[in-house]
């Protein structure tokens, strides 16, 4: 044991010069295969990142649901298969929804409506939140002004703003989107500010001695260095945004998954509700997985994001 440690200690030259990783080896290849290699590599690492235990958990959940469905009436707990059949049927055409006054009597159009609202809200909220968060970390006077507002907004349960928004904007798109923008802005502000504050000042000092100006420090240091944490925050904001959008549609809207849920609840239709929730959950998880892939792809330098990444 001690002998092995000694031999590895004396073998410093080999240790210091050996190729550190596959990334370095690829540098010798031509441009196109390298790009392909990188793409398949990130795909592979994405697949590797999927935990087989997650599937096990899912299977146990469905089995438990299936078993419980024998104990209750379908009106209380419909079996999984029936929910799935209902989902497939309602996806394109759900005539019973038109009976309750939903503009588009199918899940597909309402899903698009909800997804559109989430996308608009996340884009606007993230843009405002990230910019303000980054600026606040660098400009102390801006921080002094904005921090109290954001902290207060972050502490108050955001749903209490829904009645105001309904008064101001009515039951249209604007109310729901406004609520979600509010939420995403606060979350992204906090994440961006923390990411920028965590940046070690030695990088900025080094860049300045190399001749970097203010603009270059922002573009080449601040932005790339904060990408992993900001994208991580975006995943959290997005997950919350789906829920908040659905709830605000529930409170007052003529369209969307939330409206569908409200209508189905009024009709005491648990099968329909579960089918709708299943679809919403599936879409949210897919979007999150896509974002996780983007994080891994654009922040490959950050070891913490790679399950397989380690100091070689």
């Amino acid at each position: 044991m001690a002998e092995a440690a000694k031999s590895s200690a004396t073998n410093w030259d080999a240790a210091d010069r050996r190729p550190p990783s596959a990334a370095a080896v690829r540098s010798n290849e031509k441009a196109t295969p390298r790009a392909n290699g990188r793409l398949t590599l990130s795909l592979r690492s994405g697949i590797r990142a999927v935990d087989p235990l997650r599937f096990l958990g899912l299977i146990i959940f469905v089995l438990a649901w299936y078993a419980l469905s024998f104990l209750f009436q379908p009106i209380i707990l419909p079996p999984p298969a029936a929910v799935l059949v209902r989902l497939l049927a309602d996806f394109w055409d759900a005539p019973n929804l038109s009976y309750y006054g939903v503009a588009e009597p199918n899940l597909y159009a309402n899903l698009i409506y909800t997804a559109e609202n989430v996308a608009i809200a996340v884009l606007i909220g993230a843009a405002i939140g990230i910019v303000c968060g980054l600026v606040s970390a660098r400009v102390s006077i801006f921080r002094a002004i904005v921090d109290p507002i954001m902290t207060t907004a972050g502490t108050v349960p955001i749903l209490v703003a829904a009645p105001f928004l309904l008064i101001w904007f009515g039951v249209g798109r604007e109310s729901a989107v406004g609520l979600v923008i509010f939420y995403v802005t606060v979350i992204m502000y906090l994440f961006a500010q923390k990411a920028a504050s965590n940046l070690n000042p030695i990088y900025e000092e080094f860049a300045r001695t190399l001749g970097a100006g203010q603009r270059q420090i922002v573009v080449d240091l601040l932005l790339p260095a904060t990408v992993p944490e900001i994208l991580g925050g975006l995943r959290i904001a997005l997950a919350g945004a789906w829920g908040l959008e659905a709830v605000s549609e529930l409170l007052g809207s003529q369209e969307g998954m939330g409206k569908v849920l409200e209508v189905l609840a009024g009709a005491t239709d648990p099968e329909g509700i579960m089918a709708t929730l299943l679809l919403l959950g599936f879409v949210a998880i897919s979007v999150d997985a896509a974002l996780a892939w983007i994080v891994a792809r654009f922040a490959g330098w950050n070891a913490g994001l790679h399950s397989g990444g380690s100091r070689t």
């Binding site: 550190p20 990783s21 000092e205 860049a207 300045r208 190399l210 080449d220 990408v227 330098w301």
Partner: protein, 270 residues
């Protein structure tokens, strides 16, 4: 080409105070004046807390002096700039850029065309022995390799003054010796004909003896000695054992306070 300047770096009565949290004033650098001609390799030596790193920070333009003037290459220092490269003790290589992009970064900031700056960066990466990790991420490199990247970055940037703040103190003995050679080789191989003026802060007496043309000794913020080292390079381990070098080493140890056992001294104080 201009002849080498005799006054590349000039410090005139430089002083730097800090205010501690308890409100007390601490003098980190006290009335320091010296002149360094172009191309000289100068080591700043002294015990920790003697103000040598503060001095370097001021020369780098990262910290303004409380009073006095610092002139480098005829211009008063008012902030950091690419003509004065700095290698820090801590890792400063950008983790989000590949090795080659790190080495190019200073040139990119000064809008050197991509093909040209890549060629320069590759040449310095080769000289520090890191061609094989050109496209690696910094997290994939060892501490010694990161220091090589930092040195290549600063050399590629082409400043005429190079400052190093205890750059190798966190490395093991063998890596440190290797990197000293890497540094000396780069410094000697300067194509422009005029070597960079180097200011190397260290608390390691042997490191100073192996590297320096001249050693400035500091204690409690004051410059206490200025010792020329005229030994020819490359200096082998044996050459450090010759009488003239040992005499210098004795002098340095005396300044640092290591020439007498610490314990009896403490007893005498008590």
């Amino acid at each position: 080409m201009n002849p080498p300047s005799n006054r590349m770096i000039e410090l005139v009565h430089v002083q730097r105070d800090f205010r501690r949290a308890d409100g007390q004033r601490v003098q980190a650098v006290v009335d320091v004046s010296f002149v360094i001609p172009e191309g000289q390799f100068v080591c700043l030596v002294g015990p920790s807390g003697c103000g040598k790193s503060t001095l370097l920070q001021m020369l780098a333009g990262l910290l303004p002096p409380s009073s006095g003037g610092i002139v480098v290459d005829g211009k008063e220092v008012s902030g950091p700039g690419p003509e004065r490269g700095v290698v820090f003790q801590k890792d400063s290589v950008f983790p989000w850029m590949r090795v080659i992009d790190n080495v190019e970064y200073g040139l990119k900031c000064r809008r050197v065309p991509p093909a040209e700056r890549r060629e320069i960066a590759r040449s310095y990466l080769r000289q520090v022995g890191l061609s094989h990790v050109e496209r690696a991420w910094p997290r994939e490199l060892s501490g010694g390799m990161l220091k090589r990247v930092a040195i290549a970055t600063v050399f590629a940037n082409g400043g005429r003054v190079l400052m190093l703040d205890e750059p190798f103190s966190a490395l093991d003995y063998v890596t440190r010796r290797q990197l000293q050679d890497v540094l000396l080789n780069l410094w000697s191989a300067d194509k422009s004909g005029v070597r960079k003026t180097v200011l190397f802060v260290t608390h390691d007496v042997d490191e100073a003896l192996a590297l320096a043309d001249r050693i400035l000794v500091f204690r409690s913020g004051c410059q206490v000695d200025d010792i020329p080292v005229e030994k020819a390079r490359p200096r082998s381990a044996d050459s450090l054992l010759e009488p003239d070098m040992i005499a210098i080493k004795r002098k340095l140890l005396h300044h640092i306070g290591l020439d007498r056992p610490a314990l009896p001294d403490a007893e005498a104080a008590a």
